[in-house]
């Protein structure tokens, strides 16, 4: 097979304008080489900041936000596209190479109808006539499984759902019959149950049209379903590059091994059903405008154990946490903490009641005041709740830093000087500083690199062993639930659809939603997508 795209020694730099400092040049991508054959899919995988989008855009000779390609070559069909002039590059974009952005909602022009935008590049590059382009768009809408494909193009971007927009964006990229499509995290912004459909649609469309693709994602399990080859990237450099089978089944590098294995840890659930620390009793809640977000939720959490609340965005899982903290008072029902009823509102609760429940957020960046040092951040709960100041307080902060496996050299650092994982550790220390009995963890690892996330999970488990603290752990990731939970609650559209000990909650027989959710979570297995789709077809045929 002839090589369609070949990239050699790619180097991309950008100028960063740090406030109050002279501009400096940073290297985003360094010495990356790969090639894509006609009709094949290469997966680029890595955490955010690994340079994968930047590499993807280089196939269109485009640098986002001042990024410049300063070294290497990008050859398409043997021609170095970096050496083409402006007109040459314009002739390439939207005709030979097309791009699918992560956020289709932002990438579509709000002022024009979808159909016009889908066929625009084909018409402008003179690839086909309007009639042909419209016919092709209709065909693409159909194979991508969009509803009412005949009239879909007449709609405006804001009139269709996120999953449909993402498929429309794929249609827009496929329409001019390009040789290569760059997919930039096309399913990341979607829920798992939507993701699987879009993923299947994209895979189907690529196969149907024999288009080659660069598929960029941070999710190895997703890319395993669609790519022929995979390149693992970290800090702008190649970690490992090989066939999908080799990467998944026989990874050579530690980093890749960690990516593959992180989902395979599981811990046995606690059997001891001691007295409950938290009881949620028929709780319902509404927003200020009367929109009901929680319907009759009842849950219990025994002392020293972990309850995982699973659900997609909009399921009400974070709202439930807000109700427990008192930020959103329930409209009905009661919350009992350690045997006593908790006042509904934050204002109604005593300092002691507040101390016993602490919270850890998803984004440690925004959860800590950037103008306070680690010492101030961790020290505040100590002085606030226990009135301890001065040297004694510093001593406690040192102990806490020790507990989260960070030394006291971090005492006087600001959050901006810490890495993502270190910030989350400091946030955990802040929660621990109050000596709580319950910590609410709202997706504390989902913004982190998988390796770092695993470290945080291990730390949380260790702290639970040491201090017997209980966790309510909110997540959308079933693998994490398997790894850390004792009991599981599944939420869907504000309702509790399943609740019980992990072993029973995650075993059949399932209710419909949990079944769909569990089956939609990509597994680190080649051919998983086909298997799921085949099961689905059988089920619908059976019905």
């Amino acid at each position: 097979m002839p090589e369609l795209l070949s990239v050699n020694g790619l180097r991309i730099e950008a100028t960063s304008y740090a406030p109050g400092e002279a501009p400096k040049t940073v290297t985003l991508v360094d010495g990356v080489s790969f090639s894509v054959e006609k009709g094949k899919v290469l997966g680029l995988i890595g955490e955010s900041g690994a340079g994968k989008s930047t590499i993807g855009l280089s196939a269109l000779a485009y640098g986002r936000g001042g990024a410049r390609i300063t070294g290497g070559e990008v050859k398409l069909n043997g021609t170095d596209i970096l050496a083409l002039g402006r007109a040459g590059i314009r002739g390439l974009r939207g005709s030979k190479v097309c791009y699918v952005a992560q956020s289709a909602a932002a990438a579509f022009n709000p002022a024009h109808r979808l159909g016009e935008q889908v066929i625009e590049a084909s018409l402008r590059h003179g690839i086909m006539s309007r009639a042909e382009a419209e016919k092709r768009a209709l065909h693409l809408f159909t194979i991508l499984g969009l509803p009412n494909p005949e009239t879909f193009g007449k709609r405006f971007p804001h009139q269709v759902s996120g999953g449909q927009l993402q498929r429309a964006m794929t249609a827009m990229a496929l329409c001019p019959n390009p040789e290569l499509i760059v997919f930039d995290e096309p399913t990341t912004a979607l829920d798992v149950t939507t993701q699987i459909d879009v993923l299947a649609a994209i895979k189907h469309a690529i196969e149907e049209t024999h288009t080659a693709a660069l598929y960029i994602t941070h999710d190895l399990a997703v890319v395993a379903q669609i790519a022929d080859d995979i390149m693992v990237l970290r800090h702008g450099k190649t970690v490992e590059y090989g066939s999908t089978r080799q990467i998944i089944e026989a990874p050579r590098e530690d980093y890749t091994r960690a990516l593959v294995s992180v989902r395979q840890t599981a811990r046995p659930e606690a059997v001891d059903q001691s007295s409950p620390v938290l009881t949620i009793d028929h709780v319902s809640a509404s927003y200020g405008n009367g929109f009901k977000v929680l319907h009759d939720i009842s849950l219990t959490l025994p002392k020293g154990q972990t309850l995982a609340i699973v659900g997609e965005s909009g399921s009400g899982k974070s709202t439930l946490a807000r109700v427990i903290t008192g930020l959103l008072p329930p409209t009905e029902g009661r919350i009992r903490f350690d045997g006593a009823e908790l006042p509904r509102t934050l204002k109604g609760r005593s300092k002691e009641q507040l101390r016993r429940i602490q919270m850890i957020y998803q984004m440690a960046d925004t959860a800590m005041n950037p103008r306070q040092t680690v010492r101030e951040i961790i020290g505040r709960p100590i002085s606030f709740y226990e009135g301890i100041h001065g040297a004694k307080k510093t001593e406690r902060v040192r102990q806490l830093l020790d507990q989260i496996e960070m030394g006291d050299r971090f005492l006087d650092r600001y959050p901006a000087e810490l890495s993502g994982g270190q910030k989350q550790r400091v946030a955990i220390a802040r929660a621990l500083a109050a000596r709580p009995e319950l910590i609410l963890c709202d997706e504390p690892t989902s913004a982190l690199d998988p390796l770092v996330a695993e470290g945080i999970l291990k730390l949380l488990l260790k702290l639970q062993e040491d201090t017997h603290v209980s966790y309510v752990f909110i997540t959308h990731d079933i693998a994490i639930v398997r790894a850390i939970a004792d009991s599981v609650a599944v939420m869907h559209r504000g309702r509790l659809v399943r609740f019980g000990p992990k072993s029973t909650a995650l075993s059949p027989p399932f209710d419909d939603y949990t079944d769909l959710l569990l089956k939609s979570v990509p597994e680190m297995e080649i051919g998983w997508l086909e298997k799921v789709l085949a099961t689905r077809r059988m089920e619908s045929a059976g019905n």
Binding site: L60, Y62, R64, I89, R90, G91, L92, R93, G94, S95, C98, Y99, A101, S103, A106, A107, F108, N109, P110, A111, H112, E120, A121, R124, H125, F156, H158, Q159, N289
Partner: protein, 375 residues
């Protein structure tokens, strides 16, 4: 809506006359399907809140526009209360000021009765408002003439001045704004930035006298003072207002241009313009087809907001050029404390200001495809 919706945007406040970008926060909710809140100043009353809510759901566009109109009427009413009632509540007695400190109590009482000040405030307010709604603003204390008659003549003069200032400044501002975007962070942009920053800092009267000094006194190519009178020919009028118009243009231009630049830049840095670029479209098509339809609303918004400033900016310029307009009338009345005139002029200026702010918001509503094509 970038310019109006982001108060922290680096757009500087207008020189004097004081109008920040977007005098009234835009009443455009991000989500048209969200129920319309019953804030005290919103919504014309229909046959009940439910009927109104249903109407808004079915016609979000008409609903929002009606709501915005209602808000303006309510604001105008509240402003009239403030202008009339606020004055009553403040310390200071007109009659004493009018006659001077040495006036006898008897003379003060007489003049109070004469001006009708001895009657209750509410009675006088509703009389005044009723008259104002029919175009009757009472009689001036100073000249004993009808206020409405004077305003009739002078309002036309002021609008004449503002119209020509707008005619020159709008195309110039939009053109320069686009030029600055085209050459962003390069020399022309930097020059435009520094010059406009300086222009924003110039007081109107300084610009005015400078122009008079150069063009009327030194070169004698323009006339000063800018006198206009009834029966004056159109061309003569134009030449008379050349300098005041130039002053207003200079004052309003920098502001309008900076806001236009920010509004266009905001659109140009959006993801859909990047998409257009990655489709390999020509620069012209990207601007004409993808940027322009989305930039029109914020730019028109900027223009409307600056026109509101223009109406106020005429006050100082009219005084500088001794131009017989509303601004000069009001300033003269303020110095002699001729309250009926002050109140009438204040209300009319506020009405223009509220109207233009409303127009800016309604244009933003109309230009929003989400509202024009509801789900």
């Amino acid at each position: 809506m970038a310019a109006a919706g982001q108060p922290a945007a680096p757009v500087h406040d207008a020189a004097t006359g004081g109008l920040a970008a977007g005098g009234i926060p835009p009443a455009t909710p991000a989500d048209p399907s969200a129920p319309v809140s019953g804030s005290p100043l919103s919504g014309p009353s229909m046959s009940g809140p439910n009927a109104w809510r249903r109407f808004v759901r079915r016609h979000p566009l008409a609903g929002l526009i009606l709501q915005r109109l209602g808000l303006s009427v309510a604001l105008l009413f509240a402003v009239s209360v403030m202008i009339f009632g606020g004055i009553e509540a403040l310390p200071g007695d007109f009659a004493t000021t009018y006659l001077g400190q040495s006036a006898t109590p008897q003379a003060v009482a007489n003049i109070r009765a004469d001006l009708g000040l001895d009657r209750p405030v509410t009675t006088r307010y509703f009389e005044w408002l009723g008259g104002a709604l029919q175009g009757d603003f009472g009689t001036s204390w100073a000249s004993r003439n009808s206020v409405s008659e004077q305003i009739g003549k002078r309002l036309g003069n002021s609008l004449f001045l503002a119209f020509f200032a707008a005619l020159v400044s709008i195309p110039l501002a939009v053109g320069l704004g686009m030029l600055a975007v085209q050459y962003r962070n390069r020399l022309p942009d930097k020059i435009i930035n520094i010059v406009s920053l300086a222009a924003i800092s110039l007081p109107e009267f300084f610009v005015g006298y400078l122009l008079i000094m150069v063009f009327a006194v030194q070169y004698g190519v323009a006339t000063f003072p800018a006198t206009v009178y009834d029966g004056m020919g159109f061309l003569d009028r134009l030449s008379a207002i050349a300098l005041p118009v130039a002053t207003l243009v200079l004052v309003v231009l920098a502001h309008m241009m900076r806001m236009t630049r920010a509004a266009i830049l905001n659109v140009m840095s959006s993801a859909y313009v990047e998409t257009a670029e990655l489709k390999g479209l020509s620069a012209f098509r990207i601007i004409a087809r993808h940027a322009a339809p989305n930039a029109v609303a914020p730019v028109v918004n900027v223009i409307a907001l600056n026109l509101a400033y223009l109406v106020v900016g005429v006050v100082v310029v009219e005084v500088v050029f001794v131009y017989p307009g509303m601004g000069q009338y009001m300033v003269d009345a303020v110095t002699v404390r001729d309250m009926p005139v002050v109140q009438a002029c204040g209300l009319i200026f506020a009405a223009f200001y509220i109207f233009l702010n409303m127009a800016a918001d309604i244009i933003a509503i109309l230009a929003n495809p989400r509202l024009r094509h509801p789900r």
